[in-house]
Subunit: 135 residues, 2 copies
Amino acid sequence: MQQCETPAAQAACSVLEVLGRVSGKWSIGILLVTTQGPARFTELERQVKGISRRMLTLTLRNLERDGLLTRTVYPTVPPKVEYTATPMARELYDSLLSLTGWAERHLHEIDRARADYDAEAAVAADGARTPALTG
Amino acid sequence: MQQCETPAAQAACSVLEVLGRVSGKWSIGILLVTTQGPARFTELERQVKGISRRMLTLTLRNLERDGLLTRTVYPTVPPKVEYTATPMARELYDSLLSLTGWAERHLHEIDRARADYDAEAAVAADGARTPALTG
DNA sequence: CCGTATCCGAAAAGATACTG
DNA sequence: CAGTATCTTTTCGGATACGG
């Protein structure tokens, strides 16, 4: 990876780029809200449950820097700042829907795989505690 | 987020689920290689540039646990272990192509946005050092 | 209201020696 | 060959006091 030479590797690099931007713990939540329409800082703080002030600011700045969000300051008192998803961000959100589809189709399968794996791991650990009953 | 009540929020939650699985620093790289065909441990260590032994093992285990990778051990000496992407993983990779497309379409735009943002930030910082020349 | 600055703990990740 | 165990470094994220 990260040499991006072959076409396939190139694709992977782009994906990694996007994921890097979007995979933060809070990015998608913010993108979601701001895609519905302009949102103010405190509004986001309430709607994106569990986010801290610090992380809200940081994530907003990053998204703004990447051109996914526009920040509009109204020089009123008290201050008013609105964040809106850019067209590019809306397009991204559409692309994410493809992932959503995959997730919905396979969530059960994944859960089952996990359960199986964990069960296997459990018996393996047990086997290690009481070894070689088959003599 | 993370209450998943409204349909839109539900979608976001699924996406977050997937991203959580796939957004690790190395997951996609591994998925890419194993989607091309079975790969052995050392092979992956070489192909996924920069990965440490530890992270390779951890990521492989997680992907296996989620049912995205199958692990096949050949009881030979020296040992031989092969990792292969499951059909579910191949499907996921197809979905990621949608993101790849978005990334390719907008990489320039993003770079420009970043440059603009950083330039703005620079002049703002400079303005703070030498304030109020406009009197 | 809208942030920034600071401090701290948790978690991720790197390096690498060691083992079946 | 294919890992595991251990130690250290780095990054991420939460709490919160303060400022325009």
